[in-house]
Amino acid sequence: MNVYGDLLERAGRRFPGPSDQLDDLYERWRRRQRNRRVVAGVTGLVIFAVTAVTLGSRLRIGDDGTRPGGSSDRAVSAIVLGARDVQRGWELGETRLGRASVTLIARGDTQVLLQRLPLIDGVSRRFRSEDPRPFAVLNAFVLRFGDEAAAQGGYALLELEFRRGDGSATELPGPLLGVESIALEQPQDRAYRAPATIYLWRRGDLVMGLMAIGSLQERQLEELARTMDARAEREDGDG
């Protein structure tokens, strides 16, 4: 150290020693951690609120109040779901109730897809218990059809068939399936695009559904409902 260094060293020692202690440092660290958590929480809430508002506005646009036509014994339920790419080989998400035996045929502009998932007993029990929310299973279905299909008011047919583990059809609760809006849980790796509306029919043991992307005209819904009925009758006849 040169002469200036010595002078500075001596001058530095003139200052009273630091008053802060390690405990203060740790306390400060804890405060900082707490603040970060608070900031993260608030940020999360803001993002959630913005997402909810955005989704809400899209869902309102998607569900324009139209319902499929047809006789009153075809109870109709509209379940507004989220969005997910539908591609060949796509995977149906896990349901909250467990896995269900689901046949899903999606007809977008060009795609026809079929997916089956194994059934677990929990699902059957729920149906037998007449739980008014058995179709919460649809929470898992977060589907999206291509932008083009959405832009053109494209649609897809969704058939849901719930079966017991032994393969026999599951008894379903009453015909009214309720009307429910389900908040979308945004998959992180996918951009949310468009809301989908699912209309459900119950025909005996078979629940039939229509999933509409965006808002369908009533005429389209009626046409689709007729298609669905025809399919159901054909299958009843086959059975």
Binding site: M1, N2, Y4, G5, L7, L8, E9, R10, A11, G12, R13, R14, F15, P16, G17, P18, S19, D20, L22, D24, L25, R28, W29, R32
Partner: protein
Amino acid sequence: MDEAGVAARVSFEAFYREQHARLYRALCLVTRNRHEAEDIAQDAFLKLYERWERVATLEDPGGYLYRTAMNGFRSRYRRAALALKRGLGVVAADDGIDALEADDWVIRALAPLSRRQRAAVVLTDLLGYSSVEAGRLLALSPSTVRMHVSRAHAALRDRMGDER
């Protein structure tokens, strides 16, 4: 806290005790304000504590500490300059500095220097950094650092002459 956490904490505390007073005194000379020096030192240690697992493995954790402290000093300086423009105060005045100046001619000699000049002379003469290293810490060119140091030396020499 697990065993590794305890060990890390112990080594951090040893480092803290070893470096704290030295850093604080250097910052006192630079800022001429004990509150500010304490704040900057604490902030720097806090940043190190949060990254201690990585910093502890560095060849020179002390260098990292001084670099962090100098970054803190520079950003504070920017904030202070901004606050000055707005007519706000960001740091409480250090009342004790007058008494220290009266007692110590070196502190008195450093008073008219700019913060950068003080920082340059403290980093090079007291802490032993080269003008290149000090320049990196202060975001100045080495020649600017040398110029600041030279002015600080001149101020000290003048005062030294008076004292003799």
